[in-house]
Chain length 422, copies 2
Amino acid sequence: MVQRRRKLGRGVAIIGGGMSKFGTFPDKLGRDLMVDAYTEALQTVGKGMDPKDIEALYIGNFTSDSFEDQGHLGHIIADTLGLAPRPATRVEGACASSGVAFREGIMAIASGMYDIVLVGGVEKMSLLGTEHVQDALGLASDAPIERDDAGYTFPGLYATMATAYMARYGSTREHLMHVTVKNHQNGSLNPKAQFNVTLRETMEQRKRRNAQRGEPVPNWKDEFDFLMDPGPNPLVAWPLYLFDCSPVSDGASCIILASEEIARNFTDDVVTVAATAQASAGPFGTWGGDITSIPSAKVAARQAYEMAGVTPKDINLAEVHDCFTAAEIIAIEDLGFFEPGKGAFAAAEGQTTRDSDRPINISGGLKAKGHPVGATGVAQIYELVQQLRGKAANQVQDAEVALAHNLGGTGAVSTVHILGRI
Amino acid sequence: MVQRRRKLGRGVAIIGGGMSKFGTFPDKLGRDLMVDAYTEALQTVGKGMDPKDIEALYIGNFTSDSFEDQGHLGHIIADTLGLAPRPATRVEGACASSGVAFREGIMAIASGMYDIVLVGGVEKMSLLGTEHVQDALGLASDAPIERDDAGYTFPGLYATMATAYMARYGSTREHLMHVTVKNHQNGSLNPKAQFNVTLRETMEQRKRRNAQRGEPVPNWKDEFDFLMDPGPNPLVAWPLYLFDCSPVSDGASCIILASEEIARNFTDDVVTVAATAQASAGPFGTWGGDITSIPSAKVAARQAYEMAGVTPKDINLAEVHDCFTAAEIIAIEDLGFFEPGKGAFAAAEGQTTRDSDRPINISGGLKAKGHPVGATGVAQIYELVQQLRGKAANQVQDAEVALAHNLGGTGAVSTVHILGRI
């Protein structure tokens, strides 16, 4: 296999972005949430733009087939946003659908075909009950192998990886709790997060609720004590409990891309795409025996660093795919931020908090911000763009290089993007 | 809106292609059919290639979610073909899924990111009973508007367009029958076609079957007489009868793309991509009152002709999206081969047969070759590549410029590609 350093035929930049609030919105369809995201995106293009200058759309969505009974999606978003007859392509990459869509938008511009492209992601998951969400998300596993033969659900798949990690490196459930506490802390500062509240405040709310109802008030001494209580935090798949899992969410996100040559016609606040990478993998059984790291993420990370000409040390902040707390631990190792086996301990030591050298999931991550699966990849990019522009709700100081890591399936697909100021 | 002639940053060529037989294959999954297509594709690369030189995959698929209970697909194809960890992206564009995937592969190469890309399409539809296929294909309509409010099925949507066409231009059901007869005639010469038999032979088979069973033997005098009989050809949605509709099919197709700079390293028999275009539309109600032509197809056709620098007269043969006979009539008008309202009459006069100046659906089309929806777009390209290389089963003489037209939904998405010899 020829290995070459990949590069784009011309540079691609980000000139605007938006996202809907994440949460559960019974009265809105996915297309309505995209209107919210798109409206904000247009407003963030500093010098303004004519929406008609958008030449093509890429929409990441996992399975509106199952969630909204809507299989064909691209044209609906184009039509809803008033952008038909522009080409509108739906890209599916499970929970990395819009990480992949973002990448297609980048290549469409680099190809010379288009100068301005709208990339978005959307998922409307809350119409179904939780057990049906489980079935729908199960469509992301390899049906005959992982699901039908092995009987895995997604929490089960990640629990298996978490168990292997803990057995190999000696970490415990408490290390995972630090990820939960941190991401809820971050989410409390993000008004668009589904859980815009710290875990301590959640705990206090429960106490007040019980008191109001005349029920016994638990004597939780801190968040960790709260998380140890199987009442509020029941087991899902050992060692993953409810608060180790991202929630069921509705939401949409979008980014406006332009060729670097013309980006400054639209804004002085340009963010550049320094690298785009994507890799795939088959089920566990094809990974060569080690399930404590995700091969596709490591391949994509290596390619992204090569393309951007940077190393993990150069990354100032990162949004990573914490569908489960254990996934964040594995991600920060796969991305080279920590050595294998050190991630859990680093997280417990506070090396990934907003006050650390390299904050992880400053947005609240999938855990607290929410995880409308098809919207997540571009929502990560949105957060990083806000940070690089100095306009984030939970602003990090002096960030210049940022990384987004989006996963689909059990590492079946990974995308890694590196963004920077130009 | 800025109108500009679109062009790619660098040229893209086709160096190989394959397709599985189309039909119903109870013992094969979609991934197995893709192995068939891929195996042939590698064999058609004249000078041979190392499969490891393939750098990325694009897979068109409409709804394996519904048909195979398999939502996330790209990585499964990569893994099955031994191509993981290469990026493998599933693209959804309803029945134009692989027309759209083909386009993404073209742009990925033109972007400079990759030199060699595998583009495929797959659909495994026959696992479900016919009524469930109807439901699954119904996911391609606009769920709240076309399906839930208006109550349309897909035959109903196209029947509405066919009715409007007949009312406006005075054509009859018999004009549509000419499309059926021609496409089965073409399919009879294509060994990979689901219906590899002429309609006359089908008619004779029915007579023999009845005789063998001791049942009355109908006295059909020709194919048209046969099609008028509601026994073998029952009404589906007036004016569309069973033989006006493409069948339920399983199948896969793929094409190997390379940058023009390196294409001749792999084959002397290079086909070039002269144009790629795609457009979208909302439901009927947004089309401006005329449903006798499909706006997205006209936009895509215009852009494709501009990009290739040719006119409809320059096209030597075309594969068009005849999901229903009426759709072929509308397509040959939208593509500019015939004036509005003349297509039905031209078809009846034999102006689209294999002996005409511009054969339409020489492969048998969706009607006779079969329509595994996600595979259709790339299967059209496969047929044209075989024709341009002089290697088709049903070879047309001296074809140099060929066009593929792929539709999704009721014109919700259209792709038009123009291929030529270089």
